[in-house]
């Protein structure tokens, strides 16, 4: 799989060298592709701030993170988007590590305070076309 923009020929992907290197060290390195799919709904896109869109975004946060409310997260995003409405704003929320393999105890489990810290790197391609 590679990460391609819609209708674009230019894509980004993990290099084969990195994937090979990482797969040999699952105790200290893992990688994943996060897509906007229904199967693994660990990405939520907010292109508008209609009542329905905000409700769906809050529901997504509450469901995936098990919280009773989002602490004003979506409303704050919509405030920012409203302030910059002329500049085609959009928000993308990503739930990293949701489906990460944690078979090795070295990986950070939330209540295991003795585990090593995890450093997360994200690469995302945005395209703004007029």
């Amino acid at each position: 799989m590679v990460a391609c923009l819609n209708d674009a020929l230019i894509c980004w992907d993990f290099t084969p060298g990195f994937k090979t290197w990482c797969l040999l060290r699952l105790a200290e390195c893992q990688y994943e592709y996060i897509r906007n799919s229904t199967q693994h709904s660990n990405m939520r896109i907010l292109l508008s701030c209609s009542t329905d869109a905000k409700h769906e975004a809050r529901l997504w946060l509450e469901t995936l993170f098990g919280v009773v409310h989002d602490g004003g997260h979506v409303e704050a995003l919509c405030d920012s988007m409203a302030d910059n409405a002329a500049y085609t704003p959009a928000a993308v929320m990503v739930n990293t590590m949701k489906f990460l393999y944690r078979g090795n105890r070295l990986w950070k489990i939330y209540q295991n305070f003795l585990a090593l810290d995890t450093k997360t790197f994200l690469w995302m391609d945005f395209s703004i076309v007029s």
């Binding site: 060298g17 390195c29 896109i45 704003p89 450093k119 995302m124």
Partner: protein, 223 residues
């Protein structure tokens, strides 16, 4: 390829050529790239293509597809020297009006101390169906510059924490939430799209940044 002189032959170790259509110009004229490789005794090689004009590099449009990565010369002269035992690899560019169907590249090779040995070589190719190697880019879309902000964690305070550094420590499950806010730098009617997120995780210092984890995939293989 043919030789036009039955009486004189110059023994060559190598002689081959290739012709590609480089550009189709707006007025209908076409520019061909002629690539010739020759190896043999000391020679003076004269090249001509009937009804075509040798063009200078100044007249060429920039096109990476026409570049050679080896020691191939780009020549603006129709006369070149082949040194004994060394391969001459040379490209030249030729311009012709629209509608040409057959291209004949004619080489006259002169050898010997007083150029007494003369051998003609001709190469013929039907170029009617050739497609130009380089075409002007047709842009139907305009990309706009944009600004991307990022917030780590959940809640109003996290979103409003500006400017946000490119990296920040977070804790717990809520710390795994990363929110991107993207917008154009110009107030134009635009659309925003994005691709799959590539995520890599490491639990020891320098694990991920040691190599080159992500690369451009532009129709070819990544290194």
């Amino acid at each position: 390829m043919f030789s036009s002189d039955e009486l004189q032959y110059i023994p060559l170790e190598q002689f081959d050529n290739d012709l590609i259509l480089a550009h189709c110009l707006l007025g209908g004229d076409r520019i061909f790239q002629l690539h010739t490789r020759a190896r043999g005794p000391a020679l003076s090689m004269h090249t001509r293509i009937p009804n075509m004009q040798l063009v200078t590099l100044m007249d060429l449009l920039a096109c990476d597809r026409l570049l050679f990565g080896d020691t191939t010369l780009v020549s603006e002269s129709s006369i070149l020297a082949v040194l004994p035992g060394q391969q001459l690899s040379v490209v030249s560019y030729w311009r012709v009006v629209a509608g040409v169907e057959i291209v004949k590249a004619l080489y006259t090779l002169l050898a010997g101390s007083d150029h007494a040995l003369v051998m003609d070589i001709g190469a013929v190719r039907n170029v009617l169906a050739l497609v130009a190697q380089c075409t002007p880019p047709v842009l139907s879309i305009v990309y706009q510059a944009g600004v991307v902000q990022v917030a780590f964690g959940m809640g109003r305070d996290e979103v409003h924490m500006t400017p946000v550094p490119p990296e920040a420590p977070t804790q717990g499950e809520l710390g795994t939430l990363v929110t991107f806010l993207v917008q154009s730098t110009r107030a134009v009617n635009a659309s925003v799209s994005f691709s799959t997120v590539l995520a890599a995780y490491g639990n020891s210092p320098g694990t991920i940044t040691a190599g080159r984890p992500v690369g451009l995939h532009n129709g070819g293989l990544l290194e």
